[in-house]
């Protein structure tokens, strides 16, 4: 990047304790906007916990700053519009149709109990076409394959039109060909941005095999963090493979 990136998300002295066990200790990190950032580390290093803490889904010590403002100070709806979350095991939704699922992403923009308006429908159509699911919109999720299902969940997260999308192990349930397709899709989405806005995508636990398979140029992935994240003694690195070709 030629210009200094504005930080979409930042953590200061972030510590998380789960079941009396410290999982994250005093993590400092900055996630630039307009980039696709991956958090890479071994199993159990605390990647998911870090991501959950950044999304405000886990009680933590220290501060998380979303676009420069403390996460706790954001009103619920505004925060939901600014930051979308795609969890690791979003399941139990077999009965929902693809269209209704994507429409759930519009909840932060809708008044309570208000029916979807023209803009909501337009956005949902756009994200379903982007994820090549428009023709499947009437199908319940139970009838989709694992890869299609994951794409539908991505469409739901994208329909929020948030500046920041946090994704926890989005490739975990996919086989290698689907992983490659999916990565290509997300990459093109990052490249397109959303409505011309600079969006940040943070992703966790991307398999190194997968990164290698897609061929990042040596040295292309670089650390943006000035300090390693101490996660149970294991230093996981924050990298931004935005320049993956």
């Amino acid at each position: 990047m030629s210009t200094a990136p504005q930080h979409a998300l930042a953590a200061r002295q972030l510590s998380v304790t789960l079941d009396h066990r410290p999982v994250l200790q005093q993590v400092n990190l900055q996630i630039p906007s307009g980039l696709w950032t991956c958090i890479v580390g071994p199993n159990g290093a605390g990647k998911s916990t870090l991501l959950r803490a950044l999304a405000g889904l886990t009680p933590c010590e220290g501060e998380v700053l979303l676009q420069g403002r403390r996460l706790a100070q954001w009103p619920g709806r505004e925060r939901a519009q600014a930051l979308a979350w795609l969890g690791q095991n979003e399941s139990g939704t077999d009965d929902l149709t693809v269209y209704d699922l994507a429409m759930l992403g519009r909840l932060p923009h809708q008044k309570w109990l208000a029916p979807p308006n023209a803009q909501d429908r337009q956005v949902v159509e756009r994200v379903l076409r982007q994820t090549q699911l428009w023709d499947w919109r009437e199908r319940p999720l139970g009838q989709l394959s694992g890869g299609e299902r994951q794409r539908a969940l991505l469409a739901r997260a994208l329909a929020v039109e948030a500046q920041i999308v946090l994704m926890d192990e989005p490739l975990a349930s996919l086989d290698p060909p689907h992983q490659a397709d999916w990565l290509a899709e997300v990459r093109s989405l990052v490249a397109q941005g959303h409505g011309g806005q600079r969006a940040a995508r943070v992703e966790c636990g991307l398999a190194s095999r997968c990164l290698g398979g897609l061929g990042p140029r040596p040295g292309a992935a670089h650390r943006t963090d000035t300090r390693p994240c101490h996660t149970r003694g294991l230093a996981s690195r924050v990298r931004s493979p935005h320049s993956i070709a």
């Binding site: 959950r52 619920g76 939901a80 795609l86 969890g87 909840l107 309570w112 009838q143």
Partner: protein, 337 residues
């Protein structure tokens, strides 16, 4: 391709009308016909003051159970959750047993006179509500939240068994209340009068409105707690409100008809097998389906061995058990075709 929610809503409304009519016309002497009703004022009185409230009440109790089941399955993200598996029905019956036990000891004539008075009904419903609410909270506390499905169901079973045993103990202590309590345990529609109908209709309306208001939360929860939180939904207060609605619907139904199994489980399942809709419509359709199921079961219970009557709870347990067995044998993918 599944059919639309609207067409199913109309079908269920038509079916409701049919079973209600059948229920009104079915008596201990077989079917009553229009000329019989016109010529026999006593029979007309029976229809107006016994069969009509009883049939309507069966429908309303079924609708309440259907609503409770739909909410339970959405709330706990578990297709096997129903008011009974979470212990709320046992809690409600313990509340009823305690009140009746105390009444039986102190004021036995009240029970044996002209049925149950309006105030007693209200008291029973209140006690059932407190019992149901506490039972669900106890289940949730034992399961430490709703994340672990198996834990939740096991905790529900434990709470159900223990509270059911306590209710039996109360029955042992107050033999005066035995007959009423026994019919509560078996599930009966015979005790439903117009007061009970009015009470259930009022609770039904309140619960429908509440469930409609909370339906976006149920939709969001389908994707998991984290995603619901990330969508800006107020998960914790919403969950408590949903538990309260679930407990109120279950308790009101149990206080009027006793323990009627499987309707709360089967009604949402039947709807889910046919339509894919958001929770606002899902809850509504489950209510209609629950009403039809219980009303039909009531007609069967009264008509099968007429002039003798079966407890309707026995009918739903047998029919529901067979249905659940069929569901178990079905492969997963076929349920969604």
């Amino acid at each position: 391709m599944k059919e639309t929610a609207t067409s199913w809503a109309w079908r269920l409304v038509a079916l409701s009308a049919l079973v209600l009519l059948l229920g009104v016309l079915t008596g201990s002497q077989g079917l009553s016909t229009w000329p019989m009703l016109r010529d026999d004022p006593a029979l007309a009185d029976v229809v107006l003051n016994l069969r009509l409230p009883r049939t309507l009440g069966a429908w309303l109790a079924g609708a309440l159970l259907g609503l409770a089941g739909a909410i339970a399955q959405g709330l706990f993200r578990n297709p096997l959750a129903d008011p009974y598996l979470l212990g709320s029905a046992s809690g409600a019956s313990l509340g009823v047993a305690l009140v009746l036990g105390l009444m039986g000891a102190w004021a036995a004539p009240l029970l044996h006179d002209a049925g149950l008075s309006g105030w007693l009904r209200l008291g029973l419903t209140g006690a059932a509500f407190v019992g149901a609410w506490l039972a669900v909270l106890l289940t949730l506390a034992l399961a430490r939240g709703v994340q672990q499905t198996v834990r939740l169901l096991l905790a529900g079973v434990v709470v159900g068994v223990v509270l059911g045993a306590l209710a039996s103990l109360v029955m042992q202590w107050s033999p005066e209340a035995w007959p009423v309590l026994q019919s509560f345990m078996l599930g009966q529609t015979a005790m439903i009068d117009w007061t009970a109908c009015a009470l259930m209709a009022a609770v039904c309306m309140a619960c429908t409105l509440a469930a409609w208001g909370l339906s976006p939360l149920l939709d969001g929860l389908a994707l998991g707690e984290s995603t619901a939180l990330s969508l800006g939904l107020r998960v914790l207060p919403g969950r408590m409100a949903l538990v309260a609605v679930l407990a109120l619907a279950t308790a009101t139904s149990v206080a009027q008809t006793g323990l009627i199994a499987f309707v709360g489980l089967a009604a949402p399942h039947l709807v889910r097998a046919r339509v894919s809709v958001g929770h606002a419509r899902f809850v509504g359709l489950s209510m209609l389906a629950g009403g039809v199921l219980l009303c039909a079961a009531d007609v069967l219970a009264r008509g099968l061995l007429a002039p003798r009557e079966l407890p309707v709870g026995v009918v739903t347990a047998i029919v529901g058990g067979i249905y659940l067995l069929r569901l178990m044998r079905q492969p997963l993918h076929a349920r969604h075709s």
